[in-house]
């Protein structure tokens, strides 16, 4: 007898569950909450920091509501020149591009013959 949670429960999206759900904020204008399933601080922090770089973002934050709820919530408020969905999407694309660039630079550096004497 055990009440151990299912092995993959923590990181595999269960059938019938949406990866992203958008909840419109009814009290604050041009704001929304994006609930992302089966992700944690790895993406949460990354996307939030990118949102903070965007001049069209008024507020951006995320939280992992509970260690046993395998999801994160982003709260985004955008300027009236745009909307939360657009800036959220833009942040994802920007981080993605940055990682792609980093990967390219890393691969190029690996291909370069390295100075053996400098390693310890």
């Amino acid at each position: 007898m055990t009440n151990a949670p299912d092995r993959y429960e923590r990181f595999v999206l269960p059938e019938g569950v949406s990866k992203v759900t958008r909840i419109k904020d009814t009290r604050i204008t041009n704001a929304a909450t994006f609930e992302v399933q089966r992700e944690d601080h790895t993406l949460g922090n990354l996307i939030r920091m990118q949102l903070h770089r965007d001049p069209e973002v008024l507020f951006a934050g995320y939280k992992a509501p509970h260690p046993l709820e395998y999801k994160i919530n982003f709260k985004v408020q955008a300027r009236d020149t745009t909307n939360p969905e657009t800036v959220f999407r833009r942040a994802i694309d920007a981080v993605d591009t940055e990682i792609a660039d980093l990967r390219k630079a890393f691969t190029e550096e690996l291909a370069r013959p390295r100075d053996q004497g400098n390693f310890y």
Binding site: K19, D96, A100, L110
Partner: protein, 237 residues
């Protein structure tokens, strides 16, 4: 090879050839001396999959055959034998640490170290050396030609501030200023031996992109289902 949880063939049983590799061990000690059974005695069912130390040894083999010794599993006495079957499965560190290929992964901000050379020149040679030696790690040294104190390894600085305290104690405050550059950092990855550190970094970057892709697709889907989202689509998303 697929992850056991994704295997359609055995339906999550993680026992079939698509999601696992079988290793067999079948050794008997016939001689009088103790027999070491090692990872080298494991017989793989798939030649592309073998224990990490065996793979490394295969490379080293070309250099010196004598150096080779597998990881000890058990020792056998005369007439003892061991027979067993092992299953190697693919997994991720989030599921169980045994699958984590990284021993340590850590980053530090690159230090920016500026020596006040004008003030430094007022020190005697002995004082300079005394100050250099106050750092627990070798960050500074005296240039043999110019006799100037210089930074030889900024990365070795551990933010211990020992040299700053030492300068103050010696009556030379402001001898050195050290700040952390926040736009540049040193990332250190130490592997367990299962994968090369550069492979771990590249895999990590790929996994991050995969995760971002998952959220991007999820967002597109969430907004498609939502009739209110006409305005988002008009903006080109």
């Amino acid at each position: 090879m697929v992850y056991g949880r994704d295997c359609d063939v055995c339906d999550g049983d993680t026992q079939c050839e698509h999601c696992s590799v079988e290793f067999t061990l079948d050794v008997r000690c016939e001689g009088d001396s103790t027999l070491d059974v090692t990872t080298f005695d494991l017989q793989t069912s798939d030649e592309t999959v073998e224990p990490a130390d065996v793979a490394a040894a295969r490379k080293a083999m070309e250099e010196d055959e004598k150096l080779l010794k597998g990881i000890l599993i058990v020792k056998l006495r005369k007439n003892q034998e061991v027979k067993l079957r092992c299953l190697a499965r693919k997994g991720i560190g989030k599921d169980h640490a045994k699958w984590n290929p990284a021993a340590t992964a850590v980053f530090q901000f690159e230090p920016e170290i500026i020596i006040n050379q004008q003030l430094m020149e007022t020190l005697t040679e002995e004082q300079k050396q005394e100050w250099i030696d106050s750092s627990p790690t070798k960050v500074f040294d005296i240039d043999r030609a110019t006799r100037q104190v210089q930074v030889v390894n900024a990365e070795a600085y551990a933010y211990d501030e020992e040299v700053i305290k030492k300068a103050e104690a010696m009556g030379f405050p402001g001898l050195v200023t050290i700040s952390a550059r926040e736009d540049s950092f040193i990332f250190t990855v130490e592997a367990t031996g299962a994968l090369k550190p550069e492979t771990i970094v590249l895999n990590a970057l790929d996994v991050l992109r995969m995760k971002l892709d998952g959220v991007r697709n999820g967002l597109t889907m969430a907004l498609m289902e939502d009739p209110q989202m006409m305005n988002y689509q008009m903006n080109g998303g």
